[in-house]
Each structure stands twice: as structure tokens, then as C-alpha cells.
């Protein structure tokens, strides 16, 4: 290390990135891998978005215009799978890769080679998954929740490739999660106690445990499907003594924690951005940590609220209703904390802040509809309608996705050493904000009026709101191309950014240069 500090150029020559393609193939550098995760997830976001555009175009008017029901079902399924496993999850892993070592003052991730592997198996998984669309019988057409027996006995032959792809994604997530836990627990700089960690690190630590707990459950359920399809078992086949309901219990035991895997890191990002632009310390840091932990715990005991209509007994139904409603309490605490952080601050509204505030408002609206859905008797009316579609898109798009965008705008100067164009960033925000609301808000009304989800065509009374929703969808979709342009433009032609471009930002990541050197914190920083 003494030589490195002694001769800066010399250090660069020996420890800088390799040249060419192999840099990316062989890299074990957390920043390189983080970058690849982020670009990969953005590519998947556009692919999944393209599928969504097909869906919204077909639903623009009643009647079948563009695609047939078989293909429509493949679109809804692939849209869900790609967005959940390809866009949102890898984007958060990318942010974790980039930021966690820098936030805790570590030189890299704890397991750098495994880090490389967990990224590089992903493109193969998604290439395989997407290729099923071109296979005989088409791709997966049973919804991203792939309920048996539609996904087993009645599935197209390509389901086997789907199962293999899910296994690979699961392996990638588990390795990524282990890596994050190992990094956070072992690689913190001296003095960085657990209760001093930035909330993004905390929320990711908890998320990583959720991943380690439930991804094997997903692997188990798809393996059982594989056995049913190819080896004559009957886990989910009623004719052989199995039960299709068993599938749903196992799937949602994975699936409910999974939805929190997609939102907890978002809480962390927003908890970094709001104090930075309010120039005021985050209100209730420790209650934020406890609230996150409570939400994570509750996520394991609420899975059957996705199954209120499958006919679970009264006591079960009541238990899952009560447990689910309880989640509103810690979630409320978080929202109150964010608002109180803003209260009597000194706010400015740069693009990351706009996305973060929008997150708080629209995620809360998604939370409200979540509370409504938790009320089991009312859920009999909402279940599997567009009300549910509106609910989870509100928490996932202006929730998870906007938090990722907020994070990208917030940390892009650190990653690239360049500032994005603030005007364009704001244009992107407002277009996305209007688009997302025009797209998803009318879907509440559609659901309440009785439109089921996952249908390629609908009765005439649903025509008007569907058209409005589609127009919002096209606007939102197009705005994301602007996002691509902004990011590329920043990297190519942005103005140089200072080490700490945000006046109120806190954290170790702002103590290093912009762009962050290839190796940071080779010597642990001092934490007071």
C-alpha cells in the first residue's frame, strides 16, 4: 500500500481494469460487476417493457386486434417474469454491488469470484427463457405465478426450459445474497458498527436473508413441477393424489417474501436520498431498522393472503387477514419517518429527490390498496381483478422502479464522474410521473368495476379506462428511452462531477473521488 500512495500513476498501471472484452468477462471488481448488473437489468427492463407495450396495445380497444389469446398469455407471463427476475432484482443487486462496499468502507465484495459467476449466469438464464417464445407450442403462458396444473399437465413443452432458467436465476440470487451478507458482516471498516450503517446497507442485509430463505423454496417448487412433468410424480396432480393448492402454498411462501425483496432495498435508497436533499438527518433511524426487520419477519406469515379465494378454512383466512393488516403498521412508520425528515428541512428538488418524493406518495397509495386487499371479505371482490394489477404495479413501478431511477440519478455522478443534464432529468421524471399515473390509476376503477386480470379482451363497459390506461402506458414506455439517452449522454458528454455533488449527502461514498477509483478503501477509512 505504501507504494500505491507513493506513486499514483504506477498504482493505476498495475491495478486498473484490464482492456477489452475480457475485462468484463473475468472481472472480480465490485464496480465492474455492479455496472454489468445495472446495464443488464436495464436491457431486461426494456425487453419486459416491450412485452407490456404489446399487452397495452392489444387492450387498447375491445376485440382481438394484434395478437391471439395464446400469445397474449405468453406476453403477460414473460412480462412478469422478466420484470421481477430480470429487471428489478438484478438492478438492486447492481446497486448493492456498487454501493455496499463503498458505504461500509470495504475494498470489494467478500467473495469476488462468486460475484462474477452470479452475474454471468444471468444472461444465459434469460436468453434461455426468452428463446422459449420461438419454440413449438410457444413460451410459458401460465402467468408469472405459474399455478399448477396449468403449468404442469397443461403446459407447453417449453416449460422445462422455463424451469431450468428459474433454477439458474435462483442460484444467481442465492450467491449474490450470500456475498452481500458476507460483505456486510465481515468487511465493515473499523468503527462502522451495525447501527451506524446507512439504511441501504441495512435493508439489503435483511433482503439478503430473505433471499437465502426463500429462493431455495422457489427452486423446490419448480423441481416438483419438473418431477410431475417428466418423472411421473403427482405433487400437484389431483388425479395422482396431489394437490394444486399445495403448489400455491409453496409458491407464495416464496412469493410473498419475494415482493419484499423487491421493495426493502428501495426503502434504503429513499432513506439515503430524502435526508440528502432535505439537508436534515433521517428521522427515526433505529425505528427504520426495526420496521424493516418487522416487515421482513411478517412477510413469512402472510403468504395465504394471495389465496383468500382458494377455500382455506375460516380460522386460516382470519389469521392471514390479521397478519397482513399488521404489516401496515411498520410500513406506516417508515412513511411517517420520511415525511418527518422532510418536515422543517431545507429542501431542493433535483431529479433524485423528485423520484424519491414520488416514491413516498405513490408507494403509499400502493400500500393503501394493499390494506384494502388485506381485508379478506372485500378481497373476494378484488381478487384477480385489475384492482390487484393496479396495486402491485403501484408498489413496483413508482415504488421499486422509481427508487432505482432515483438511485441512478443520485449515484451516477459517483459512478461516471459526470453530471447528468438536470433539465432532461426533470423532463424524464415528469413524463414518467404522468405516464405511470395515467397508466395505472384507471386500473383501480377497472378492477372495482369487475375486469379480471390476464384477459386479452374485455366487455364493453371496460373500454374507456383501458384506452386511457394504454395511452399512459405508451407515454411511460417512451419516456424510458429518454432515460437511456440521459444516462448515455452523461457518460459520453456530461460535465465533470465533484466528489460530492449533493450538498446534503452523507456517507463514505462521497469521500472518494468522482468517478470512484477502480479500487476504493484499500486502506480502511476512519469512522467516528
Amino acid at each position: 500500500m505504501t507504494t500505491a500512495t507513493h506513486d499514483h500513476d504506477h498504482d493505476h498501471e498495475h491495478h486498473g481494469p484490464a482492456k477489452g472484452l475480457t475485462r468484463w468477462l473475468y472481472t472480480t471488481n465490485h464496480k465492474d460487476i455492479g455496472t454489468m448488473y445495472l446495464w443488464f437489468s436495464f436491457a431486461m427492463f426494456l425487453l419486459g417493457g416491450t412485452f407490456a407495450m404489446v399487452i397495452r396495445a392489444e387492450l387498447f380497444q375491445p376485440g382481438l386486434q394484434l395478437v391471439q389469446p395464446e400469445f397474449f398469455n405468453q406476453m403477460t407471463t414473460m412480462h412478469g417474469l422478466i420484470m421481477v427476475f430480470g429487471a428489478v432484482m438484478p438492478a438492486f443487486v447492481g446497486l448493492a454491488n456498487w454501493m455496499i462496499p463503498m458505504m461500509v468502507g470495504a475494498p470489494d465484495m467478500a467473495l469476488p469470484r462468486m460475484n462474477n459467476l452470479s452475474f454471468w449466469i444471468l444472461p444465459f438464464a434469460f436468453a434461455m427463457l426468452t428463446s422459449t417464445l420461438f419454440m413449438e407450442g410457444g413460451g410459458p403462458n401460465f402467468g408469472w405465478t405459474f399455478y399448477a396444473p396449468l403449468s404442469t399437465t397443461y403446459a407447453p413443452p417449453s416449460v422445462t426450459f422455463f424451469i431450468f432458467a428459474v433454477h439458474i436465476m435462483g442460484a444467481s440470487s442465492i450467491m449474490g445474497a450470500i456475498n452481500i451478507v458476507a460483505t456486510i458482516l465481515n468487511m465493515r471498516a473499523p468503527g462502522m458498527t451495525l447501527m451506524k450503517m446507512p439504511l441501504f446497507v441495512w435493508t439489503w442485509l435483511i433482503t439478503a436473508y430473505l433471499l437465502i430463505a426463500v429462493m431455495p423454496v422457489l427452486a423446490g417448487v419448480v423441481t416438483m413441477m419438473l418431477m410431475d412433468i417428466h418423472f411421473g410424480t403427482a405433487f400437484f396432480n389431483a388425479a395422482g393424489g396431489g394437490s394444486p393448492v399445495l403448489f400455491q402454498h409453496i409458491f407464495w411462501f416464496f412469493g410473498h417474501p419475494e415482493v419484499y425483496i423487491m421493495i426493502l432495498p428501495a426503502f434504503g435508497i429513499v432513506s439515503a436520498i430524502i435526508p440528502a436533499f432535505a439537508r436534515k438527518r433521517l428521522f427515526g433511524y433505529s425505528s427504520m431498522v426495526y420496521a424493516t426487520a418487522s416487515i421482513a419477519f411478517l412477510s413469512f406469515i402472510v403468504w395465504a393472503h394471495h389465496m383468500f379465494t382458494v377455500g382455506i378454512p375460516f380460522l386460516g383466512e382470519a389469521f392471514f387477514m390479521w397478519a397482513t393488516m399488521l404489516i401496515a403498521v411498520p410500513t406506516g412508520v417508515k412513511v411517517f419517518n420520511w415525511v418527518t425528515t422532510m418536515f422543517r428541512g431545507s429542501m431542493t428538488f433535483e431529479t433524485p429527490m423528485l423520484f424519491a418524493i414520488c416514491f413516498v406518495v405513490l408507494f403509499t397509495i400502493g400500500g393503501f390498496s394493499g390494506l384494502m386487499l388485506a381485508v379478506a371479505p372485500a378481497d373476494f371482490q378484488y381478487h384477480d381483478t385489475y384492482f390487484v394489477v393496479a396495486h402491485f404495479h403501484y408498489v413496483l413501478v413508482p415504488g421499486a422502479v422509481f427508487s432505482i431511477m432515483a438511485g441512478v440519478y443520485y449515484w451516477l455522478p459517483k459512478w461516471s464522474g459526470k453530471m447528468y443534464n438536470e433539465t432532461l432529468g426533470k423532463v424524464h421524471f415528469w413524463l414518467s410521473f404522468i405516464g405511470v399515473n395515467v397508466l395505472f390509476f384507471p386500473q383501480h376503477f377497472l378492477g372495482l368495476a369487475g375486469m379480471p386480470r390476464r384477459i386479452p379482451d374485455y366487455a364493453l363497459q371496460f373500454a374507456d379506462f383501458n384506452m386511457v390506461s394504454s395511452i399512459g402506458g405508451f407515454l411511460f414506455g417512451a419516456s424510458q428511452l429518454l432515460f437511456l439517452y440521459i444516462v448515455v449522454h452523461t457518460i459520453v458528454a456530461g460535465k465533470p462531477a465533484p466528489a460530492k455533488p449533493w450538498e446534503g449527502a452523507e456517507g463514505l461514498e462521497w469521500t472518494v473521488d468522482s468517478p470512484a477509483p477502480y479500487h476504493t478503501f484499500s486502506t480502511p477509512p476512519k469512522i467516528d
Binding site: 375491445p62 376485440g63 389469446p69 395464446e70 398469455n73 403462458n141 401460465f142 402467468g143 399455478y147 396444473p149 396449468l150 397443461y154 388425479a239 394444486p244 432535505a278 436534515k280 433511524y285 425505528s287 379465494t309 382458494v310 377455500g311 378454512p313 375460516f314 382470519a318 387477514m321 390479521w322 399488521l326 401496515a328 403498521v329 411517517f336 415525511v339 418527518t340 422532510m342 418536515f343 428541512g345 431545507s346 429542501m347 431542493t348 418524493i357 413516498v360 406518495v361 403509499t364 393503501f368 390498496s369 390494506l371 384494502m372 371479505p377 372485500a378 373476494f380 376503477f445 372495482l448 368495476a449 369487475g450 379480471p452 386480470r453 384477459i455 386479452p456 364493453l460 379506462f465 384506452m467
Partner: protein, 376 residues
């Protein structure tokens, strides 16, 4: 120029849709006591959310306007308060508790299946419903399929769509008003879900499981709903139509249907000519088979095999009977042995062997079907 024309067309489209607008915003109140209670719960939770939202976002927007740097706001440095934090944990918990208690009572009501007077079995099939009025004393139980009756030409935009587009069936299920009706729901293939919003009844129909639900309809009328669990290709095309009539009218209807059922059963015993079988076979084919194998027998490549020129339709009648009666394990081909009467089975098989250029020339009679089933 072109852009302008597109814009005008879009505007015209918007205006025309606003003109015939149906901007239904809320859940229907429905026509049962339970559906009213559910509506009440829905509105209660909604208003609670609205009030919380106004308070929280009110404070937030207040600070966004007042506490901005451009207005010279200087940030305070308070960052915790046990009292405040305790308050906003406990107060929401209390509100939720209140909603939860009310909801639990309604839930308990919904789970009280006792003392029903009519029992209706509802079985989901890809992609239609079969209804059976369970009555041990009936000479012949009333049972029928209810399939969507919207013409394909309306779906494919070749015909103007009618008012009940996609929400109409060939034979609605008839129920008496003011009577507790118990539903027993199950499925013959994949999971379906039977939903009528006006009754606030939604229950999954799951193969191998019999689920329960119940309703007491307060008002006569026609109530429409749909399948709400993704069940494959035609999931969007399996509506539910309930006709609620007075108990007297219902008794009369049921008695008529029973006579019809007896007459239908007799069809199995009478002599059939080739032409009669072909004619009936075409009807049965279009309601039971055509959604997969297509009206022209060409199937869907990779998903559903063609019947025109297929080795099974052109092979020995026993093989053909075996496929249709018993289904094909591990595929979407269901066993129709219990779905079709012997006469309908005979008719549809005869039809498949002699339509779309298939010219086996033989005919399968109800007696053949009976013997085939008996010989198994």
C-alpha cells in the same frame, strides 16, 4: 400532414368514446346482504386510507412548499422522538384493529354454509362451466354446460359488438331469489374461479377439491361475471350468467329442465341415422371441441393437434372412442366420458370421422358408446 391526420383520428376516437362513456368508478353494491356488507367494508377502508393520505400528504406538501431552500428555510436537526414514534405506531394499529374486527364478522358470515335450500354444483372446464342441481329425489338430475355465446366474428371485429359482449352464455344458470343457495365448486382440468360481482361470490374451482360458497339473492335480475383464475387460452371467454327469478318461477323452470333431461336421456336409446348424427355432432363439436381443435378441425400447431386427416379420426373407432371418452393423460385433452351423453358422444365422433375431408364413412351409435364404456 400525416401526423395531423393521425392526431385528428385519435381525437375523434377519444371524443366518440367519451360520448358513449362508461366511467364506472366503484365497486357495485350488489344484490345480497353479504355484497352490501362487503361494499361497506370496502368504503370504510377506502375512507380510512383517504383520511390518512390527506393528513400525511398534507404535512408533506406543506413542508415541500414551506421548507424549501429557495425560500431560505434552514433545516432543524431533530431526528427522533420516542413519544411521536410510539403514537404513530399505536394509533394506526388501533384503526386497523377496528377494521379487522368488522371484517372478521363479515368473514364469519361468509363461511356459514348451513341451512341451504338449493345446492348447485359448479364445475369448471376449459373453457365453460357445468352446472348441476343436486337433488337426490329427482328422477333425472338437471345438469348442463354454459358456454360463452358471443360470436367469434364480434371478437375478431367483423361484426358490431353487442351490449353483453363476452358476458353472454348459451344457457344461464337460474337461481331462486330469497333462498339460500349453496355452491359446490370444483374443476375437471385446471384451476378456474367462479365470480359474480353482484353476489360478492368468488371461489376457486380446483381439480380434486370441492369448495363451498353460498348466497341469498335479494332481487330478481340477470347478473354477469367471469372466470377470474387464468385457465389457459380462452380464460377471457368463459363468462358466468346468473338469472335470479322468484322461487315459484324457479320451481317451474327446474321441473321443465327435468323433463328435458329425461327426454335427453331417451335420446341415448333411440335409433339414429347418419345424417342426424352428423347434424347433432356439428353442434356438439362447436360447443365442446372447436375452441381447441378449431371449427375447421385444423387445430393449433404445437398446441392442439389437427383432427382433419388425423390418424386417430381415420383409424379404428375404438381408438377414437378411447381418446374422447378417456382423454389423453398428460395433455390438455380432457376425458369427455362424463361430460357428454352417449348420444352426443356418438354424434361428435361420427362427425369428426366424416367432416373436413375425413371420409371414414362409418357411424358410431349411442349403443356403441355404451358398449365401449361398459367393456372397459
Amino acid at each position: 400532414m400525416k401526423l395531423q391526420r393521425v392526431f385528428i383520428a385519435l381525437t375523434a376516437l377519444l371524443i366518440s368514446s367519451v360520448a358513449r362513456a362508461d366511467w364506472t368508478l366503484n365497486m357495485p353494491r350488489g344484490v345480497t346482504d353479504i355484497s352490501q356488507e362487503v361494499y361497506g367494508l370496502h368504503m370504510l377502508t377506502l375512507w380510512v386510507c383517504v383520511v390518512i393520505g390527506v393528513l400525511v400528504f398534507g404535512v408533506m406538501f406543506y413542508s415541500m412548499f414551506k421548507h424549501r431552500k429557495s425560500k431560505g428555510a434552514v433545516s432543524s436537526n431533530f431526528h427522533e422522538s420516542t413519544k411521536v414514534e410510539l403514537a404513530w405506531t399505536l394509533i394506526p394499529a388501533a384503526v386497523i384493529f377496528a377494521i379487522g374486527v368488522k371484517a372478521t364478522y363479515t368473514l364469519a358470515d361468509m363461511y356459514n354454509f348451513e341451512d341451504s335450500e338449493v345446492t348447485l354444483e359448479v364445475v369448471g372446464y376449459q373453457w365453460r362451466w357445468r352446472y348441476r342441481y343436486i337433488d337426490e329425489n329427482a328422477e333425472q338430475e338437471v345438469s348442463f354446460f354454459s358456454s360463452m355465446s358471443t360470436p367469434r366474428d364480434e371478437i375478431n371485429n367483423r361484426l358490431e359488438k353487442n351490449e353483453n359482449y363476452l358476458l353472454e352464455v348459451d344457457e344461464p344458470v337460474v337461481l331462486p331469489t330469497g333462498t339460500k343457495v349453496r355452491f359446490l365448486l370444483s374443476s375437471a382440468d385446471v384451476i378456474h374461479s367462479w365470480w359474480v360481482p353482484a353476489l360478492a361470490v368468488k371461489k376457486d374451482a380446483i381439480p380434486g377439491i370441492v369448495n363451498e360458497a353460498w348466497t341469498i339473492i335479494n332481487e330478481e335480475g340477470t347478473y354477469r361475471g367471469q372466470c377470474t383464475e387464468l385457465c389457459g387460452k380462452d380464460h377471457g371467454f368463459m363468462p358466468v350468467v346468473v338469472e335470479a327469478v322468484s322461487p315459484e318461477e324457479f320451481e317451474q323452470w327446474l321441473a321443465d329442465k327435468e323433463q328435458e333431461a329425461i327426454a335427453l336421456a331417451e335420446l341415448n336409446d333411440r335409433e339414429w341415422t347418419f345424417d342426424e348424427l352428423m347434424e347433432r355432432g356439428e353442434e356438439v363439436y362447436s360447443s365442446a371441441c372447436a375452441s381447441c381443435h378449431q371449427p375447421n378441425g385444423a387445430g393449433v400447431p404445437g398446441a392442439f393437434p389437427a383432427l382433419a386427416n388425423s390418424p386417430i379420426a381415420l383409424g379404428p373407432a375404438e381408438g377414437h372412442l378411447d381418446v374422447v371418452v378417456n382423454g389423453v393423460r398428460g395433455t390438455a385433452m380432457a376425458a369427455y366420458g362424463n361430460q357428454l351423453s352417449d348420444a352426443d358422444m356418438a354424434a361428435v365422433i361420427t362427425y369428426e370421422r366424416n367432416a373436413w375431408g375425413n371420409d371414414v364413412g362409418d357411424m358410431v351409435t349411442p349403443v356403441d358408446v355404451y358398449n365401449f364404456k361398459a367393456g372397459e
